[in-house]
């Protein structure tokens, strides 16, 4: 079984890798934007992620390859096309402003890592 699976896997991956490249468009090298190490650091900061150097490198590779694939979309003329943000035409759903029951404070705090006086505790943010 394993032997068979290995043969099959090899074929399937080769086959599929080619399919994927055709599908998402092997874009000419240098033809699209590449994220620099500084860009990755900036995006990580916006994402509130403290990445290790190794992670930054791996992510840069992955993200740049995906961005190349996204370039395929630029082949399509969408000048006159409306964007779809939601598939059902729901824009605003109003309800009556009726007071309902709120969750009990103890329940709300039950999962918090640190609490005091019915509040979530976080590192100090205001200088005294």
């Amino acid at each position: 079984m394993i032997e068979h699976a290995q043969c099959y896997n090899w074929a399937a991956s080769e086959n599929q890798r080619t399919a994927f490249d055709t599908l998402v468009g092997a874009y000419p090298q240098g033809g699209c934007m590449k994220l620099t190490a500084q860009d990755i650091a900036d995006v990580a900061r916006l994402s509130r992620l403290e990445l290790t150097e190794e992670e930054k490198e791996t992510l840069a590779g992955h993200i740049n390859r995906l961005l190349e694939h996204f370039e395929k979309l630029q082949q399509l003329d969408t000048e006159a096309v409306e964007p779809t943000s939601h598939v059902i035409p729901v824009f605003n759903v109003f309800r009556k402003d009726e007071p309902g029951e709120s969750l009990p404070v103890n329940d709300v705090l039950a999962n918090a890592p640190d609490v005091a006086d019915d509040c979530f505790v976080v590192p100090r943010v205001v200088e005294t």
């Binding site: 994927f20 994402s47 996204f70």
Partner: protein, 500 residues
């Protein structure tokens, strides 16, 4: 009799309960024993809830002994729920270290509805972390195995749910589907999985991944069970403003073996993604069978489908980067202490303690795939790039919808493979994120268009199941069920169970 209860479908167990040949407790015990017996090998569950299940079952027996609720088809039926749906007081982790200890204080609407139906919760199932992945290998805790071959993946992201149904560890399960996460694992595990129309089922209490794509749906042993579960979970919910206020039909009325005059479209693009020839053969034979039974089939083309993957990998990460901003170590889940030497107020030179806490918590709490998607999404939404990526993707999403609209002017259903291949080996695609993403290439378009899709077993390759995908117009789950049921009535694939 009692020993084999776990092998039965919902409707078969229901008949036994109704005629009082078994008690709900006996049913629950049978599944609990089954989980004990096989789950150390399959590893479908993050949490099992045997005591909870037995308590629920005893309550059900009491109700049944009074003659109440006998007509409700889910009374006393053991269910497994994907671990990204909130269950009050029961661990809900999303298979992420960042939620390793999270016990929700409320039930998701679907859980509430199953509780009202008096289904019995046997456990919470494994998934790719926050439902991001195609193999359940991205779980922050452990890998689930495909019951058909323990060296292969069960698919994903609802891999735990699909494996649990296939391994007879529950009578049915709930999954969630953002780009194929119900249908693709159902295909890999040889069971039935449906993603209903976007808005059919309330998402309240489903931990959000990509809100414009996420939808909850059933994973079952046959199409009849699929209809039964849909009846229980569909419908408007005031707590999810995107849930649709439209009548919910009785889906069991569509369990009719009749496809005379049905128009089937077979879009050729779905066979072009490195599809395994045996998968293609099985799918085309299924179409031939439906034609023999009176349907008309015609090949068609949907050119925009080839852009689906790129559109998905912009829109889903963009929405995920926003939805996952809430994991900051303040209100629930993991918190990692800030670096020493941080300051109270952030400056250009010095990081503040609170920002350090956010960053360290998220760094240690999230796995690699989740971080990658947050980064892509943040980038795609950032100033200067929004138009080139996110807006462009939304516009191409419109083109894709138009292709579906056009196809459904002519056809009642579209039939394709659910995934280009059968289940692949564990670890095989882990280093190749692109090959991994290809597993969802046939299922993503339905999420982008918001339409319903179902996967049903349609054959085997080397003892691994092949899935047939049927898609229909928005809100036309009835036709999906009718076509899938007709196919099932004339085949035996769904009766095969893995040799565990």
């Amino acid at each position: 009799m009692t020993d084999a209860l776990y092998e039965l479908t919902i409707h078969e167990i229901h008949d036994l309960l109704r005629s009082k040949q078994v008690s709900a407790r006996e049913v629950a015990e049978s599944f609990i024993r089954r989980i004990e017996e096989v789950d150390s090998r399959v590893r479908a569950f993050i949490t099992t809830t045997p005591e909870h299940a037995l308590k629920q079952a005893e309550a059900v027996d009491e109700v049944l002994s009074r003659g109440d609720l006998l007509a409700n088809p889910l009374v006393g039926i053991p269910v497994a729920i994907k671990d990204n749906m909130c269950t009050r007081g029961i661990l809900t982790t999303c298979a992420s270290k960042i939620l390793y200890n999270y016990k929700p204080i409320y039930d998701a609407t679907v859980v509430e509805r199953l509780n009202e139906s008096r289904a019995i919760l046997v456990g919470k199932t494994n998934l790719d972390e926050f439902a991001m992945g195609s193999s359940t290998e991205n779980s922050g805790f452990f890998v689930t195995r495909n019951p058909w071959n323990l060296d292969t993946v069960p698919g994903g992201s609802s891999g735990g749910s699909a494996a649990a149904v296939a391994a007879n560890e529950c009578a049915f399960a709930l999954g969630s589907d953002t780009g194929g996460s119900i249908r693709q694992p159902a295909s890999f595990c040889g069971v039935v999985g449906m993603k209903p129309t976007y808005g059919r089922v309330s998402r309240y209490g489903l931990v959000a991944f990509a809100s414009s794509l996420d939808q909850i749906g059933p994973i079952t042993k046959d199409v009849t069970d699929c209809a039964i579960v849909l009846n229980a979970i569909c419908g408007k919910d005031p707590r999810d403003s995107t849930s649709l206020d439209v009548p919910v039909p009785d889906f069991t009325q569509s369990l009719r073996a009749d496809v005379k005059g049905l128009k089937i479209g077979v879009p050729k693009e779905f066979f072009g993604f490195g599809t395994d020839p045996e998968v293609e053969d099985a799918v085309r034979s299924a179409v031939d069978l439906l034609v023999e039974l009176g349907a008309h089939a015609e090949e068609t083309s949907m050119p925009s489908v080839e852009y689906g993957l790129a559109v998905y990998y912009i829109i889903a990460p963009a929405e995920c980067s926003s939805n996952l901003a809430r994991y900051d170590g303040v209100r629930y889940g993991l918190r990692v202490a800030p670096d020493s030497g941080t300051v109270t107020r952030q400056t250009r030179e010095a990081k503040s303690s609170i920002v350090s806490m956010f960053e360290k918590t998220r760094e240690q709490g999230f796995g690699a795939e989740v971080k990658q998607r947050i980064m892509i999404g943040t980038y795609a939404l950032s100033a200067g790039y929004y138009d080139a990526y996110y807006l462009k993707a939304q516009k191409v999403r419109t083109l894709l919808r138009r292709d579906f609209d056009k196809a459904f002017e002519k056809f009642d259903v579209l039939i394709t493979p659910t995934s280009p291949t059968v289940a692949f080996g564990i670890g095989e695609r882990a280093d190749d994120p692109y090959a991994m993403k290809l597993a969802d290439i046939c299922t993503i378009p339905a999420n982008l268009a918001g339409i319903p899709g179902i996967s049903v077993p349609c054959g085997f390759k080397e003892e691994l199941p092949i899935g047939l995908q049927i898609m229909a117009r928005g809100l036309d789950e009835e036709t999906l069920i009718r076509v899938a049921f007709t196919y099932e009535q004339h085949t035996e694939h769904h009766r095969k169970r893995p040799p565990l």
